[in-house]
C-alpha cells in the first residue's frame, strides 16, 4: 500500500510524541510514533469489541480480506471526554455494526491504527482528534468539517 494522496487539508501528519504534536495542550498520554501519521487507509469490517474508556477508547473490527481470510484489527481513539466534545456517543457503535475507519496504521505492519474518522452505516461520520495537531480551542469548538466518505486507500 502506498501513501494516500487524498487527505483532507485538516489532517496534519505527526511523527513524534503526542505531546509534541499539538500546537496547544494535549492529553499527552503517550507517543504516537507507533503509528504512521502520514498514511491513511480505510479499513472496513464488523465491530467485535467497543471499549469506551480513559485514557483511550478502542474499536475492534473483524475484517474480511480480499483473499477470503479474516483479520482482527484494533483501532485506538482519543479519550471519551474529547470524543464527546467532537460529537461522539457511546451508543453510536455497537458490536456487530459494519463500519469503515480511516486510520493511520501501525508502522510495524501489525493490524492496529489510530482513528482519524469513523463512517457509520447510517451515513454519519465521527472525527477523532487522536494524534492530531489541534489546540485547546479546537478541542472545545469541535471538529473541523469532516469528509463525507473515507479518504484513505481501501485496505484489502
Amino acid at each position: 500500500m502506498k501513501a494516500p494522496t487524498r487527505l483532507s487539508p485538516w489532517v496534519v501528519p505527526c511523527v513524534l510524541a503526542l505531546a509534541t504534536l499539538w500546537s496547544g495542550p494535549t492529553p499527552a498520554h503517550h507517543s504516537f510514533a507507533h503509528f504512521d501519521m502520514n498514511r491513511t487507509i480505510a479499513v472496513t469490517g464488523t465491530v467485535s469489541k467497543w471499549v469506551w474508556a480513559n485514557p483511550h477508547s478502542w474499536v475492534y473490527l473483524e475484517v474480511m480480506r480480499a483473499d477470503g481470510t479474516t483479520q482482527s484489527w484494533a483501532f485506538e481513539c482519543s479519550s471519551p471526554n474529547m470524543m464527546i466534545r467532537w460529537g461522539w456517543r457511546y451508543a453510536d457503535i455497537k458490536i456487530g455494526d459494519k463500519l469503515t475507519i480511516d486510520t493511520h496504521p501501525a508502522r510495524d505492519g501489525s493490524p492496529q491504527g489510530s482513528v482519524f474518522a469513523v463512517y457509520l452505516a447510517d451515513g454519519r461520520v465521527l472525527a477523532d482528534p487522536m494524534g492530531r495537531r489541534v489546540s485547546g480551542d479546537d478541542l472545545a469548538k469541535g471538529p473541523p468539517p469532516v469528509p463525507s466518505k473515507p479518504t484513505g486507500e481501501p485496505y484489502r
Binding site: L16, T20, G24, P27, H29, G136
Partner: protein, 285 residues
C-alpha cells in the same frame, strides 16, 4: 354549587397551599443557625462581586511543554540538564497522575473554578482531580502532609487570585526545562527532574480579558532553581453544554509503558481493564 362559589373555594385552597409553602421555606430547619446563614449570604454576595472566574470552563491554549528562558539553575541542576537524555516515551502513561504542576499544564480537557465561602475549588478534568484553595486566611503547616496537588491557601490581590501551594509527594512530575526539538520534531522536549523537599508554587491568576485566563506560576525549589522561575500560561473560556466538566477516570492500561525498558506497548490485553466493554469488564469480580 355555582361557579362563583367554586372560584372562592379554589382561591382559599390556593392561598392555603401558598401559605403552607411559605411557612416551609421560612421555618428554620433543625440545627439551622439563622445568624450563620446571614453571614453566608453576605459572603456569597461578596463572591458575586469578585472577578468572574466561575462561568463556563477553561481550555488550555499554551503549549504543553512551554518553558521559556531564562532559567537560572543550581550547579547540580545545570549538570543534570547538560546530561539529560529524554526517554523514548512519555512518563505519563499507565494512568499515573502527574500531580502539580504538570496536571495544570496538560490540558485537552478543561478546568472549572467553583467558588464557595472560604474556598475556591478548581476541578481539573484531565485526571478528574480537584484543587482546593483555602481563602479563610489559614496558614499552611510548616511540614504539610505530602499530596499530589499540595496544600493551597489563596487570597485576592485586586482582581488576581494568588494561590500559594506546598507539600508535595515525591512522585509529582516537575518539568524544569525544555530541550530544542529533536530532528524532525516541531516542538521541544521536556526535561523532568525529581523535586526537592521545599518545592513551592505561587500562582497569580487573573482575567486578561473576560474570555482569557492568565496564570503566572513561580516555582521555588532551591535544589533546582538558583532564583525562582516564573512562566505564564493562558486558558480560553468556553460556555455551553459541550464545555461542561465531565468525569475522567483513567481505568485502562492496554497502552502499557514498561518503565524497565522505557518502551510503550500498544493494546496489551492483559493490561486492558475497563468497565465499558459489556461482560468483559475487569474492574470488579
Amino acid at each position: 354549587m355555582n361557579t362563583r362559589i367554586t372560584g372562592k373555594v379554589a382561591g382559599l385552597l390556593a392561598a392555603a397551599i401558598g401559605w403552607t409553602a411559605m411557612a416551609a421555606v421560612s421555618a428554620p430547619l433543625k440545627g439551622e443557625v439563622p445568624e450563620r446563614n446571614a453571614a453566608l449570604a453576605q459572603e456569597w454576595g461578596r463572591i458575586g462581586r469578585l472577578p468572574n472566574f466561575w462561568e463556563g470552563t477553561w481550555q488550555a491554549v499554551t503549549g504543553l511543554y512551554h518553558f521559556p528562558a531564562p532559567v537560572h539553575y543550581t550547579a547540580e541542576a545545570a549538570e543534570y540538564v547538560k546530561n539529560y537524555r529524554p526517554t523514548d516515551d512519555t512518563v505519563m502513561a499507565n494512568c499515573a497522575m502527574p500531580g502539580m504542576p504538570f496536571v495544570m499544564n496538560q490540558g485537552a480537557m478543561p478546568i472549572k473554578f467553583l467558588p464557595a465561602p472560604g474556598m475556591v475549588a478548581l476541578y481539573i478534568e484531565t485526571y478528574a482531580v480537584t484543587r482546593f484553595f483555602h481563602t479563610d486566611r489559614r496558614k499552611i503547616d510548616d511540614i504539610p502532609n505530602p499530596t499530589f496537588l499540595g496544600t493551597s491557601v489563596a487570597h485576592w490581590e485586586g482582581d488576581a487570585l494568588v494561590v500559594d501551594s506546598r507539600g508535595f509527594v515525591q512522585d509529582t512530575l516537575l518539568q524544569i526545562g525544555a530541550l530544542p526539538p529533536l530532528p524532525g520534531a516541531q516542538f521541544s522536549t521536556p526535561i523532568f527532574k525529581a523535586h526537592g523537599p521545599n518545592l513551592r508554587f505561587v500562582e497569580r491568576m487573573h482575567l486578561k480579558d473576560y474570555n482569557t485566563l492568565e496564570i503566572s506560576t513561580t516555582i521555588y525549589d532551591d535544589t533546582i532553581f538558583a532564583t525562582p522561575y516564573t512562566s505564564t500560561r493562558e486558558w480560553h473560556r468556553y460556555t455551553g453544554r459541550n464545555s461542561e466538566p465531565q468525569e475522567w477516570v483513567c481505568s485502562d492500561n492496554r497502552d502499557y509503558y514498561d518503565a524497565e525498558t522505557g518502551k510503550l506497548h500498544y493494546d496489551v490485553q492483559d493490561k486492558a481493564v475497563t468497565t465499558s466493554e459489556g461482560a468483559g469488564g475487569k474492574l470488579r469480580p
